[in-house]
């Protein structure tokens, strides 16, 4: 990891793309929390997640990138939009969404971000990871998951089953006695 660090002054194309995608991700994440329209917030979230998927792709983690697209962009945001649609929440501009705590929340968020960024920068100050293509393919990940990580993987399916049963318990209204 601590090999010779290339100069920052002549970035490769890969690095430039990575930085740009990072800027898009951060910018759209800011828009998610500042926009006054709920649906717009959900759509900005798509942009943010998409940019993050792009970052993964640049880092040669192609399988993770597509999972990010499928699960976050596809499922989570769709769930959010359906939630807005089905709960008759206000879709247009809704000033009531502004919380009275937002100043405090902003301070906490900025402080948390500052701590985490400092830690990561301090931890990896001069580290430079060389990217070898092919490390993040589905095949590599698959053989790792189904060999080294097979037990956590199976335990996750148990978790999903428990969550499913729980969701049914909480929501079914047609349960009748005997």
């Amino acid at each position: 990891m601590n090999e010779a660090v290339p100069s920052y002054l002549s970035p490769t194309g890969q690095e430039i793309v990575f930085l740009l995608l990072g800027a898009v991700a951060v910018g759209s994440a800011l828009l998610v929390v500042t926009t006054k329209q709920l649906v717009h917030a959900a759509l900005w979230l798509v942009v943010s997640f998409g940019a993050l998927a792009g970052c993964y792709l640049v880092l040669t983690a192609e399988f993770v990138a597509w999972v990010q697209v499928l699960i976050y962009v596809g499922a989570v945001v769709a769930l959010l939009l359906f939630g807005i649609m089905l709960t008759r929440a206000p879709i247009g501009r809704s000033p009531g969404l502004d919380s009275g705590n937002r100043v405090v929340a902003a301070i906490v968020a900025v402080a948390t971000a500052a701590v985490l960024v400092t830690v990561v920068i301090d931890g990896f100050r001069t580290a430079y990871a060389d990217l070898t293509p092919g490390r993040g393919t589905a095949g590599e990940l698959g053989s790792s998951i189904f060999r080294n990580w097979v037990l956590p993987f199976e335990a996750l399916s148990v978790l999903l089953l428990a969550a499913l049963v729980g969701a049914i318990v909480l929501s079914r209204t047609d349960i009748r006695g005997r």
């Binding site: 701590v115 931890g123 097979v150 335990a155 978790l159 209204t173």
Partner: protein, 517 residues
Amino acid sequence: MNGAIEAPTIEYGQLMPMLLVFGAAVVGVLIEALAPRYLRKAIHVPVTLLSLAGAFALIILQAVRDGVPEQASAMGAIAVDGPALFIWGVILVLAFISMLLINDDDQFVAQAAAVPGSPEEEDAVAQGGAHTEVYPLALFAIGGMLLFSSANDLLIMFVALEVMSLPLYLLCGLARRRRLLSQEASVKYFLLGAFSSGFFLYGMALVYGFAGTVDLGGISSALASVGGQDSLLYIGVALLGVGLFFKIGAAPFQAWKPDVYQGAPTPITALMASGTLVAAFGAVLRVFWVALGNLDWDWRPVMWAVAILTMVVGAILAITQTDIKRMLAYSSIAHAGFLLIGVIATGDAEQNSGSLSGILFYLLTYGITTVGAFAVVTMVRDAGGEAGHLSRWAGLGKRSPLLAGIFAFFLLAFAGIPLTSGFFGKYAVFAPAVSGGALGLVVVGVISSAVAAFFYVRVIVLMFFSEPAADGPTVALPSVGTAAVVTIAAAATVVLGVFPQPVLDLADQAASALFIR
């Protein structure tokens, strides 16, 4: 990438107790799907109890026939070592007697989706609706506890944390009476639990950034070889600690405990107060001893502060409580503090195994007494359900001397009075701590035990020396299950208090080889 994947090695024999519990949970889901409604409970109860008893038998078989394995199982994910087998046994015993309580009717909501106080709710109650899904959900939680306490890498530990917690979040909201309180408890537990999982996950990511592995043994060896990234390690360990301290309810992360213990159906409270605490201490020991054992100079001061704060907060706030379940919750916080003393008292291998054996014994004694105490709580009833308020317990000793006597005995065991199991539990933890140089902590522990004894005795005085109110609560005729739980718990508290040696020896034996890496 054209080769076939090499098959992983899974030691099914060693994992069998856990697989049996998960298997029974899946069978329970199938019963929900296929069996007619009126038969379900009659099938669930034997399946659940038999699987727990069978898993316990398998643990004994494993320990007697094959001895303790010396390497982690299932590709290094699970460590079935001596302490793990003992903790599994404790969890299964506690789960078994808690399940006898869950078996008691009238604790769980008829239809969870009905709005409290609505006509639908009355309909569901009138039609005798019942959520028999509580059996598989509880089994999932118990399986998660087994997994959590024996996890050998952080990834499986996180998955197990979720498998253990998620069914408990749900079960907390299913109380039959005071449903709004119960639902509030459930939402609080879920939100705070999700936060703490987030902390755990972030800590795990940072520690991975430091060590390049999530394997506990790998982290331990990375402590010696990796340099210059200490900030990652410290912040990562701190975040991991937050996640784990939340689960054991150590101060300052104890706020959820009183609310959740009060709102949850009492049998579920009993399961949480005993099983979850045991499992969480198993995980705390693994993270701080196996992975971070060589970092003890760095985490010990923080742990000292947490332990002192936990004991003091638990003991002092308990005095101000007026609800019996909240009082027991604060008592549980104080006991988590006592157990943390054992976690801190590390040293050479002999010292460690002494501390570990003390913790194991304490977990067993505290868990059984707790389940017994909550079983008594389910039996003292008002018109609107359990009589939670302490003033309602006044004069119970005159109305129902036997029950009040047993409850008083449990409270004395919590206080650690000699001739109860609690005394030997405390002794087993405090004695190695004194030899391990944590004398200051032990002094704080003894003082807060004394403070705690004050409010236990106050309840006893209230029960025996005040006049019963005219409209006082009734003592429900216990079902077979509840009666069995109270009897088992009282018997265990007596036997472990008078003749603890065989179990102490067993704990010594389990702890002698320490954790495998």
